[in-house]
Symmetry: C2
Subunit: 150 residues, 2 copies
């Protein structure tokens, strides 16, 4: 059946972030649903943020669209425009190329779970305005702002 057995999809904690930027996502756990189901046109993850965890460093993508929907718990969405609380059923969209960096932060004392959908482009660049980190290509490694590799 195409219905997914979510419990059978391993929950992973993985990041390519260098130190000192890894700690913020140490409590970020995710299941890669699209990979498990054989979807390739877009990625679908269910992400569980433990209390205090961030979804990512605040960022925006040059070529990749992103979409999130809260499933349970609540998290704070932070962008250049400010902060807003995301509760179950709330949705947010981040069009490719819109230079407004975003992330979700779990300031509650319970898990916050959300669905995230994104495209995957080899020529994407990811910009992190708050820190000395940059991702010049979707398939490349992290650099400092001056282009030197981490």
């Amino acid at each position: 059946m195409p219905k997914l057995d979510l419990d059978a999809i391993p929950e992973i904690q993985r990041t390519g972030y260098p130190e000192p930027y890894r700690g913020a996502v140490a409590g970020r756990n995710y299941r890669r649903l699209a990979d498990a189901a054989g979807l390739t046109d877009f990625g679908v993850n269910i992400c569980r943020l433990e209390p205090g965890a961030w979804s990512s460093q605040r960022h925006w993508h040059s070529k990749e669209d992103e979409f999130v929907m809260m499933i349970s718990g609540e998290a704070v969405l932070i962008t250049d425009a400010g902060e807003t609380v995301m509760r179950p059923g709330d949705c947010a969209a981040f069009p490719a190329g819109l230079a407004d960096a975003h992330h979700l932060v779990n300031r509650s004392d319970a898990d916050a779970v959300f669905l995230v959908v994104g495209s995957d482009k080899a020529d994407d660049a990811c910009t992190y305005p708050d820190i000395d980190m940059h991702l010049p290509r979707g398939d490349g490694g992290f650099t400092r702002k001056d282009g030197t590799p981490w």
Copy 2:
């Protein structure tokens, strides 16, 4: 803010299905989130099925991936393999080219609401095994099985 005001996105009831295949989706209402938010890499709809409504005629896509997650209520997922009930948080995936037709049917007496994500390919063909209808191209019109237009 990138958080979407879902109430501000119009709920539409629209189908290109010819008679006699339109009635099954008469109680299908959806909001086109990706369009409203300026996402183009994939489509995102929130679909609300009134009691008795179908998500679509049972179908599969040659080139387009699909993903659904139930948000509220429940619906029955029907595929070649049989039937399974989808409840809030349940997810299902339909990889492009997998010749196992699917749809969701609301047999309950309350609304069933789900999120659906899909890609959009001009060279997609959509097959409807149960009825005399075919969609030979993603940007084309419906035909009968013998290729004559509806």
